[in-house]
Amino acid sequence: MGIELGCVLDSLPHLVWTVATNGKIEYANRVWKEYTGLDPTTSTDLRWECLLDEADLSSAVERFRTIRDSSEPGNMDVSFRRFDGERRRFLVHWTPLAGRDDRELRWCGTATDIDDFRVAVDDQHPELDFQLVVDSIPVQVAVTSPSGEVEGLNQPTLSYFGMSLADLKQWKASDVVHPDDLDRTIEAQLAAHANGNLYNVESRHRRFDGAYRWHNVLGLPLRNKSGEIQRWLHLIIDVEERKRAEEKLSSRQSDLLNIINALPTTAWSTRPDGYCDFLSDRWLDYAGLTFEEAEGWGWAKIIHPSDIEPLTQVWSTCLATGNPVDVEARMRDRDGNYRWFLFRANPLRDENGAIVKWYGTNIDIDDRRRAEEELINREREARSILNRIPALVATLDANGENSGLNEQFLEYFGLSEAEAKNWRKNGLVHPDDLSNVMSIVEQSGATGQPSMFECRLRGADGTYRWFQRKSLPYRDDSGQIVKWYSVSTDIHERRMAEERLRESERQLRLVVNTIPGLIVTFGPDGATESANEQTLKYVGQNFDEFRNWATNGIVHPDDLTAALVCFERSLASGEPYDFETRLRGHDGVYRWFQIRGYPARDVGSNIVRWYGLMIDINDRKRAEDSLARNERELSLIVHNMAGMIAIFKSDAQLDGCNQQLLDYFQMPLEEIANWATNGITHPDDLQFCIDSFMGSIASGEPYDFETRFRRFDGVYRWFQIRGHPVRDESGRIFRWYGLLTDIDDRKHAEDELRRSQTFLATGQRISQTGIFSWLVDTDELHFSDELNRIFEFEEGCVVTFEKILDRVHQDDLPMLAEKMALVREGFDNPEYEIRLKTQDGRIKYVRVIGQVMKHADGRKECLGAIQEVTDMRLAEEARDKLRSELARLTGILGLGQMAASIAHEVNQPLAGIITNASTCLRMLAADPPNIEVALETARRTIRDGNRAADVITRLRALFSKRSVTFEAIDLSAAVREVIALSASELQRNGVFLRTDLARNLPPVAGDRVQLQQVILNLIRNAADAMSGIVITSRRLVITTSLDEDNLVRLSVQDTGIGFHPNEADRIFEPFYTTKNDGMGMGLSVSRSIIESHNGRLWGKPNEGPGVTVSFTLPKYLEEENFEVINHDSDRSNADLAARI
């Protein structure tokens, strides 16, 4: 809007400027700048007076000061110097511009170039000066139109009647004129109007206080150059005093003279024929004549030569007719100057009506006359101004009807004045504007307010153009509107521009309403002016509700204060605002908006409006929130992750790291940055580390290597160092993010694994166990090296089922096929034994244990271990063989418990072997294989195997295949042989041996080996029983003797742990033992042997520590000799196996 105003001001044909209170020009329109050649925007010190002439300066400044002090608009008439030095006259109209706080800060000057008319005229107030003049005349003056309407009254008139101009407008003669004088007055006026002559009538007028006073009313027609009467001027002279004087004259002539002479007017009288017989002293004094010189017709010599004839003519006429004299003429004063006077004379008649005397006065009307002339000139000039200024000017009467139109007006519209008055009907005003114009005119007429409107008027060429019509009322002093002056200015171009602007604004609004943003405009003070539809739709309010956005909860309570602060700060500073806030939508949900506001300024840089744009950034905001959360989380991760993070600049300089890194080194970041020189990198890795890292920095490729870093406590740990470059939009690397993962434990684990793998291979070798993998779907097979060895395949060859089947014993092929089919069908954990046949014909026993695994990708794999158990099987076979041998023994000896005893001795290590082998297989089949335990169990297996073998060896020794032969045996000799065999063992065990062997002992019948075995058993048992006691107490006594029953006795006495007397029998039960590693069969077998020799074996506790075990055998008799047949049949074997 400011822009438009500036355009309008620039397009005015006036100089327009504003001055601040300090007198400096603040603003000037284009016309001003063009005229003066100056520019206040560049020269800030310009004062409006600078255009004045020196001659005008003081008066103009004084005048401005007066206007300014009055605080009312005012005019002045000055010359302004043009840019080329020429001076032109201007009518300057000053108007105060109200500031914000109602103090008059500035004045606006509007200068109209009137140089062409030479006289300064404010076209709106052409009669102002006239008014001043007539107001100062000490008589009552009234001006009426030719038709008799009162147009003006001077102040004395108004004062006399005590009424305002408005009241007197409606003045009828009957209201003020004495009823007795009314007819005469009206008659005189009508006559004068009719013939255009002046009139003079005496009548009584009612004063404001009701008193009537006599007045001489003189009516003068005012004509223009062409002689037409324009107005009537009425001079109303109070003659009450004179009337009274006249009344007194008849009685008191002398008084009269005195009175007349005392009157402020010149007075005279003549005889009926006109001969002057009296002139007042004042007259004589004015004229500088003596009465004698002026008597008769002598006065005529001071009348202006130009006036003498008209005066004489009027005077003669009056003398002839008896009409009152009323004529104006100039009279020369004593100094030779002419002044205008009004000559008035009335006849004095006698009772018969005959004129007896004329009484006359001369009223100095020079000032008035001059004023009149001036007025007429002014009128004429004003008229000509109106006609010649380039504006369409109309004068309207109080009712708003055209009463005068200047020539430009009529010419432009091609109308006569009469036609112009008919504007309501003749199409002068555009039909679309007509009703509006009519209502404005009517309203303006009713209220008396100045009006300004724009309408289209039809020019002479028939086209309508836009005009701005400004009407100002002219009021008299009582405030009554006398006239309207209106100026119509062609604003078509501006209007068109405005139309276009409006159109573009409409378009803009359309755009504003359709764009998906929320737009609000605010006044300079922040008051909400408008909001687009989207805004109202979003908040679900109408505009009246919305304008209270600061209080009605649209803005989120948490954001409101900040939003208001931003907004008000911008209002104060004029800077755009930009902030984010949550706004509540119609659905009650708050969404984030970015609020931006820009001020729109006029040409004077004043902010006229704020445009606010609100952009929905809720999604962005959420994304930001989630980003911030992510960042927080990331930061948490970075600082809490079990890794160290380092950030490098593009030049490899360490730029940052997480807490873990600092904690690891326990040194400041700046020091860690010197990792290449400060020793925290392991010396052996340093060069590799630098090469790897700097190589990546140079190439931009990610790095990944392993190196050792020294921890704060001096311990080097292995790290995997991985780094990735971070690139900006242009692809330039600006950061490297490095992750340091502590792999020290993994490194050690790797070493451990390598060791484990070695162990595994060793373990497989030792335990004769191989490992295989069978991908069931594809029949891909993998054999460990040991397994290849077991199968006697070449190392590294591709194992196929064909090759395997070639090795499998043909009797076992059906079973293998069955087991494999089960695995294919999905059965788990196969476990079986098969036999292999080597190429050189040897049989190998292998035990297979497998586990079927399903991989994540659906593949099925059978993992397993195969152990060669040939040795075990052979041991078992040996055991089986032993059993059959034992069967022979039992057959011979009838020792039922022998079998159990032997079974116990053998099954014990076998249980260990099988349990250990099972564990071993499980350990090897586990993922990862548990090598250590597997190794241990394998070792135990071997040990238990050996133990079993020992048992067999001993049994073999006991029960050799040879036939048992009974013979005559010297028991003492047999004992000596046994002692000789076991002496070193006893010595080693710290056993002190004493023998008490009888000489000449009769021989006994028996098997030497068996009996010696029993003796050995007893000795060993005794030694073992003493192994737990102190070495000095280990005494063993062996005695042979012939007892009282003539039986040969052998006793073995020890000092060992002994047994309870109750246990004396139990010690001979087959698996009774007091020894941890004992066979538990020694005494039992021994008793069996002795009993098979018809002897007896028993034990009893000693008086002191220990036990004495003894047996007795009968003496050898020649005829008792016999041989035991060796039973060697499968049946007896099977029987034995079933019993064990």
């Binding site: 249980a911 099988i914 349990t915 250990n916 564990t919 238990d944």
Partner: protein, 123 residues
């Protein structure tokens, strides 16, 4: 003590059993403890923690059946699997009647052992 890893106690005077059996039991997913005699077992806190007892029959001192009876007497009866190197069906039946879960003849297979333990833990 946990359900997933029940404690199986082994009482046997034979060292090779004490060495090998606990390892296998652990490989099968159990916890295992070994004792050289019934006296040692009773002297420990194992009777309270044990879910399954593997008990050798013939031992010097207290025999397996004696330990079993003693536990019953104390009210600390445990699911018991007897093991023995002597195949004696009469003795076996007697033990089964007395409430033994099973009686395995040495050497026994891993499968038989697993089956017996499963049965023991189910009771």
């Amino acid at each position: 003590m946990t359900k997933s890893h029940p404690l199986v106690s082994v009482v046997d005077d034979d060292e090779s059993v004490r060495e090998s059996l606990p390892d296998l039991l652990r490989a099968l997913g159990y916890k295992a403890e070994a004792f050289t005699s019934g006296e040692e077992f009773l002297a420990s806190d194992a009777p309270i923690r044990t879910q399954c007892l593997i008990l050798d029959i013939a031992m010097p001192g207290m025999t397996g059946p004696e330990l079993h009876s003693e536990l019953v007497r104390r009210g600390q009866s445990l699911p018991t699997i007897f093991i023995t190197a002597i195949r004696d069906e009469v003795a076996r039946n007697r033990l089964m009647e007395k409430g033994a879960v099973d009686c395995l003849y040495k050497p026994f297979s891993e499968a038989a052992l697993q089956q017996a333990i499963r049965t023991a833990l189910e009771t």
